[in-house]
Point group: C2
Chain length 251, copies 2
């Protein structure tokens, strides 16, 4: 194998990282559609001119981040944002006994606006740039539990209209993925307790001033590029946010 970085610039990155980078680039370029199978590991190893072990190590990392999914005997697939991925990765609200229900969404508002300073900084766009503001209610077991206020850079979602958003046939991240080729791969959240303002209280059917769990989330695609800013307010009277510390996801 020829050294990919022969010059003496510090220490060369390991080969499997370079292979991972190439795989990610192909995913970004939509060389393989969401849900589709990648070429076999043997073929990919040939293509990148590495051993199968090195190729597998690169795929291992993308599988760990749930960007790819392996199925023994069948192949390796581009992960889709279906209900199961939502529940495993992006929806952490559980019932009193730890049980998880699929949330039922209701679109409350869909508006166009301009980015405020803090929103612009988080989304890495210019202050005042056009944004979409979406208000979405999630019900669990019929009860209104989560109120989401979503901000998107309009530039990333050209032509997105309320009708298309409302009539999507999948999760929100699934919609981003299939309609706009934007694959949310991780998110960073900050949680606080806050008193319910009047509007939130009315929608969530709690008393004004009641304690709500407030979550600020920045969802990102490859290379930590920001995609979506979201503020959630959760009625935690009969639900909770679940967090696991120091345990590898699944096994």
């Amino acid at each position: 194998m020829t050294d990919p970085l022969a010059a003496g610039t510090a220490t060369a990155a390991p080969l499997y990282r370079e292979v991972r980078r190439l795989l990610t680039a192909s995913l970004q370029a939509r060389e393989w559609e969401p849900g589709a199978a990648l070429p076999s590991e043997a073929r990919l190893a040939q293509r990148f001119r590495v051993s199968i072990g090195t190729l597998r190590r690169a795929v291992d990392e993308l599988v760990a981040e749930q960007v790819l999914v392996r199925q023994q005997g069948r192949g390796t697939f581009v992960a889709t944002h279906g209900p199961s991925r939502l529940m495993f990765q992006f929806f952490r609200i559980v019932g009193a006994n730890g049980e998880r229900d699929l949330p039922e969404p209701e679109l409350l508002a869909f508006e166009r606006g301009r980015a405020e300073a803090r929103e612009a900084a988080a989304l890495r766009i210019a202050p005042g740039e056009r944004v979409l503001r979406i208000r979405n209610l999630l019900r669990l077991g019929g009860e209104p539990i989560v109120l989401d206020d979503i901000v998107l850079a309009q530039r990333l979602f050209p032509d997105l209209a309320e009708k298309a958003f409302r009539e999507r046939d999948s999760t929100i991240y699934g919609f981003y993925q299939t309609r706009y080729g934007i694959n949310v791969v991780h998110a960073s959240e900050r949680l606080r307790a806050a008193a319910a303002d009047r509007a939130s209280a009315r929608i969530l059917k709690v008393a004004p001033g009641a304690p709500l769990l407030e979550i600020h989330r920045l969802a990102m695609t490859y290379h930590d590029a920001p995609v979506e800013l979201r503020r959630s307010r959760v009625n935690t009277a009969h639900h909770a946010y679940s967090s696991e510390l120091g345990k590898s996801p699944a096994r």
Copy 2:
């Protein structure tokens, strides 16, 4: 290599899992002290009669769970519960700008009691069994921010007295590890928003009824055996709980 499970009982577990099990057993038996180096990978591979690749795979998993720590050129070490592990794995409270401070603890109460039904179920002991109840305040930047109520099965911590707990020279989990050989390796948490009761409000210097972030944590050692039950109340006026979704820790 002889098959470790020759009989036809379903599918045999992979060899690296068996090696991992043996390593975990040695750790539980304190064959290597916290902070001490394990034998080299070559020697461990010889000992377990596996190839170095298989041995490394077992160690990989324990490193991913932060039970072991690798240092290139030096060796592989039993992870200790020092300040850095606290901050990376078990303390998720950050400031308004995301900065992390080391909390300064103050012991408020140390009492003996009996396990209530829910506590007993969580700790997997009998209802009414002896427990220790510890109330601990954490300050950040001098301000009281987190109030912890800790419940321990006395059986796991024989002879534990207030003085020893108060005068410990490390984190609480470091104390469990060095004094009792109990290594907390992961924890499961449930977060809610709740109104401050009078006692909490006084200690955290907030108004009674102010919204607090309430965290119920069950800390576990190897094989998910429960160790500690903890309820935290956090003043999130100037701090937040940080959560990363779908990102491998560190890299």
